[in-house]
Amino acid sequence: MMQMSPAPWTRLRRALVAIGALAVLYGIAAQIGQKWLPHRIWMDVHYIDDVELLPTYRSLGEELVFLLQSGILPSSIAVSTGRILIGFFLGACAGILLGMATGRSRRIEDLAEPWVTFLRFTPALALLPLYVVWFGYGEPSKVLLIATNVAVVTLLGAHQGVRGVPRVYLDAAASLGADDRLAFKKIVLPAALPQIFASLRIALGLAWVTIVVAELIDAKMPSLGYLLALAGAYPRVPTMVIGIATVGLLVLAFDLLALFLHARATRWMKRTA
């Protein structure tokens, strides 16, 4: 039997139930689990015997209040999000423009293909040392690293979108008298938009992975990567948990925004699921 896809609110309720159940279980574990966690030899070596491995909600709350009141968390969020936005914008512009160019012209595709393939299979973080040497410690190397990552993914999305425009639409437009300019604006672009948006969503997730790891390596205050690096150095588990949750929530928020824009841009499509 075919399963109908449930109403949105049903799906939301299920998601909330799943999160709630996990939150309750964690609360119980944090209250009673601490003393059952295995003792590790490195704890003695580093003279840490009172590390909170499973912080309670109370200590998480206290840590959150501290991080907020001291301004550490807000400024870290602002700095990391700022880098994402600038890098994402630069990378998306470059990637989409290049992808459209390669999608429309076989010659440009042939010229660009080796580089795209090369970058596509090179972990962006492997480029970080090179970028640091070229562009210095600081903003440019991180922003450009994100831009590189985003550009490759969106290039492929735009390329496939443009290349995949069904021939019939282009023929119909041509026989209705459309020149190349109009056909690009009114046929190619809207037809490619769903794939471009899908690639933007993937690129956005990738951008967050890239920035946090880049900030871990070149850790400077303030940034979410640095916050995590610092928490790891002490080690302070409540700070880690809050840092991870912050990154997770930011990614989720950005993804929802992307999903919303995607849905708006493709209202005309038949929904099958």
């Binding site: 119909a172 209705l176 008298g177």
Partner: protein, 271 residues
């Protein structure tokens, strides 16, 4: 063979041949001759794969013959233009545009002012009885209506020639009959030169002034039948004796053209 009294020839195919290149080159058309008079409704009737679409794409300006020539008003056709309204066999309604934007597209391409575009689209959409769907996306239309929107989309720029490639091929029999009536009504109102490709003899007889029967591949015109049924045509037409008699003649011609194209000792044919 032209019906008597046709003032002038609009479209002409002279000794046209077309071979699709590839690993096994396919001769789609060979030695095909056809002329279509001004405001004449010609149905191209032939089996699937006989090159009907190939010929229509030549008239539309998307293909050049590998032999012979294809002419419009005596001049070689060298590309698509909005004076030859072409409705493709596939669904080519633009799904990201509303019904109105679809209908207005040809006018937009011509640089017509929004107000004038709207006047034209209003009229055409009303003609289809789709006023309530003017601002809707095509996903809300039935496949028959969506095809009719494609037909009026090419009518918007008022082309003098209409090229229709099995527009109702994918529809069920009932919807098909309704759409045929719709098209006949539109054509009565705005007489155009029409080339209508179909593999359905009933559809050809019901709509056309003349039927050109094509042989199986390589396609050529093997018979022409003027359809002298009174217009406007109706359900009465479909069940009239004249209709049945013509249908019988057409079917016999189809049978002969299939037999004439049965495997021959030599691939070259002369005319």
């Amino acid at each position: 063979m032209m019906p008597a009294g046709s003032p002038r020839v609009r479209l002409e195919a002279v000794d046209v041949g077309y071979t699709y290149s590839g690993q096994t080159p396919t001769r789609a058309l060979e030695g095909l001759n056809l002329s279509v008079g001004d405001r004449e409704f010609v149905a191209l009737l032939g089996p699937v794969g006989c090159g009907k679409t190939t010929l229509l794409r030549m008239f539309a300006g998307f293909l050049s013959p590998t032999q012979g020539s294809v002419l419009c008003d005596g001049a070689r056709i060298d590309g698509p233009s909005s004076d030859k309204g072409y409705v493709l066999q596939e669904n080519a309604i633009f799904p990201w545009m509303t019904v109105r934007e679809n209908v207005e597209f040809g006018l937009l391409a011509k640089g017509v002012e929004p107000a004038s575009r709207r006047a034209v689209s209003d009229e055409l959409i009303r003609l289809l009885g789709l006023a309530a769907f003017a601002e809707a996306y095509p996903k809300e239309l039935s496949s028959g209506m969506s095809k009719m929107v494609e037909v009026v989309r090419v009518l918007a720029t008022d082309p003098s020639i209409l090229l229709l490639d099995e527009p109702f091929g994918a529809l069920d029999a009932q919807t098909r009959a309704m759409m045929q009536d719709e098209l006949a009504r539109l054509w009565e109102q705005r007489r155009k030169t029409v080339v209508f490709v179909t593999h359905d003899a009933d559809e050809a007889i019901y709509l056309a002034d003349r039927i050109a029967v094509l042989s199986p591949r390589p396609g050529r015109v093997t018979a022409n039948f003027p359809v002298e049924l009174p217009r406007p045509r109706s359900l009465e037409t479909r069940f009239s004796a004249a209709f049945s008699a013509l249908k019988r003649q057409v079917w016999e011609a189809i049978g002969q053209s299939v037999a004439s194209n049965a495997p021959k000792p030599s691939p070259s044919s002369s005319h």
